[in-house]
């Protein structure tokens, strides 16, 4: 299982990376963490003639919390986000989602930008971007543009990125306040496997104990990560309860379209999605201080 030959280039700057990508076009693939790409090369399911290694572009490796904005350079490793202490209490959904990406050894190397650009429908990062008002910066020969999270993910392994663009930064809004709770729940055959279905849930309660704001995202149940506005509408304004969560779970139905594969049929994944929505909302509400 050895990769086919390729030309290897290692830019030292973002500008250089952009030029190289523009120069080689479709013959080239960007190498970030490699945890998704290199297996494809090993199976020869992908044989690019040029590999542009972004691991030398130090200017893409940064991570900081500016107030309520989490600013992440594209080459930030999953593990660095996971180890950011402030996130543990402020946003369990983010931490729990990231900690479900494979295993520590994978997270040491895999990158946030790489995960977003790869856009696997079962990946956790796209759903976190949708849940947390994420914005993604893409840089190309004509400069940088900001793509709102909800416009970034198109379909399987396809994003709004132009072929000559590189993800450079992603920004998330980390919720704050005493009555905010969140979680990320996933069901997979084994720890670290791709999710059969996964749900990120965030609930913010008002002073009266009703749901002021909610986010419900799902992975593994469509051709891309989903944010369920239907479920969120059911939740907004209502007091948390098991019945409410069940209603919200039913509401996701038309917004998901799972496929069948060797690990689960579409029917089963649809069922799991709803079970997880109920459970995730209950846990998020409990953490918010509600029921």
């Amino acid at each position: 299982m050895k990769p086919a030959p390729f030309e290897y280039v290692r830019p030292e700057s973002l500008g250089q990376a952009v030029s190289l990508l523009a120069e080689h076009g479709e013959e080239a693939k960007l190498l970030a963490g490699g945890q998704s790409l290199v297996p494809l090369l090993a199976f020869r399911l992908s044989s690019p003639s040029v590999l542009i290694d972004l691991n030398g572009v130090g200017e893409l490796d940064y991570l900081r919390l500016d107030g309520d904005r989490l600013v992440i350079g594209a080459m930030t490793r999953h593990r660095d986000v996971e180890e950011m202490a402030e996130l543990r209490t402020r946003c369990p959904m983010l931490l729990e989602g990231v900690s479900r990406i494979g295993h520590v050894t994978i997270r040491n190397r895999g990158t946030v930008g790489g995960s977003l650009a790869h856009a696997d429908p079962a990946a956790e990062w796209p759903s976190l971007v949708l849940a947390l008002d994420g914005e993604i910066d893409a840089i190309g020969p004509k400069g940088t543009r900001t793509i709102p999270g909800e416009e970034f993910f198109d379909t399987y392994f396809t994003t709004a990125l132009a072929p000559d663009e590189i993800v450079s930064e992603v920004r998330l809004r980390i919720p704050s306040g005493p009555r905010v709770g969140s979680c990320f729940l996933e069901l997979a055959r084994r720890h670290g496997d791709f999710a059969l279905a996964g749900v990120g849930a965030l609930i913010a309660l008002d002073t009266g104990g009703s749901i002021a704001d909610a986010r419900v995202t799902l992975i593994g149940v469509r051709d891309r990560a989903v944010r369920s506005s239907a479920a969120e509408s059911v939740l907004r304004g209502a007091p948390p309860s098991a019945d409410l969560f069940a209603e919200a779970a039913e509401a996701v139905d038309p917004e998901i379209e799972p496929v069948s594969d060797i690990h689960g049929t579409s029917e089963y994944r649809r069922h799991l999605a709803k079970v997880l929505v109920r459970r995730a909302l209950a846990l998020a509400a409990e953490r918010a201080g509600g029921e």
Partner: protein
């Protein structure tokens, strides 16, 4: 495309050189160019963990990296875990004492992953589920993991006692 280039890596504290095409994985380079065959290939697609080495103190799958990428970094392989006098590291000793290996093929990967875990302070070492989840990135077909869990706890204890 297929030209071999000279590659020098810092492995286990020494500078070692070989030559390889860009597409040669770090695992193959360590094994075939540098003669460090302690790092094993179990799947070549990043799942089994047998190829795990440390790069700058962090565990990585050497089958998912190319040798050229490792230039300028500090690598540690299983051959580098014992002391210069040959004394076994606490992890190596604990694995042997606890019979945490049978065929030994997956063992180098586990030793490296557990070395990293211990360097982090062995978080949640007494939580059975959390510890097993941490170990679930390395596959073993022989031991049923039971003695590996015991060895990790033993190693953590040894490190605690000596510090």
């Amino acid at each position: 495309m297929s030209e071999r280039r000279p590659i020098t890596l810092r492995v286990n504290g020494r500078e070692l050189s070989g030559s390889a095409e860009a597409r040669m994985t770090l695992a193959d380079f360590l094994r075939d160019e540098l003669g460090l065959t302690g790092t094993h290939l179990g799947c070549e697609h990043g799942v089994c963990g047998a190829c795990t080495v440390l790069m700058d103190g962090r565990s990585i799958r050497s089958c998912l990296m190319f040798a050229v990428q490792a230039e300028g970094h500090e690598l540690t392989t299983v051959e580098g875990l014992a002391g210069p006098d040959g004394s076994l590291s606490p992890v190596q000793e604990a694995f042997s004492v606890n019979h945490a290996l049978q065929c030994g093929f997956c063992t180098p990967g586990f030793l490296i992953a557990v070395t990293e875990y211990l360097a982090e302070g062995a978080p949640e070492v007494d939580d059975e589920d959390a510890l097993r989840a941490r170990l679930s990135g390395n596959l073993c077909r022989c031991t049923g993991y039971q003695n590996i869990v015991a060895a990790v706890r033993d190693a953590a204890e040894r490190v605690r006692r000596s510090s």
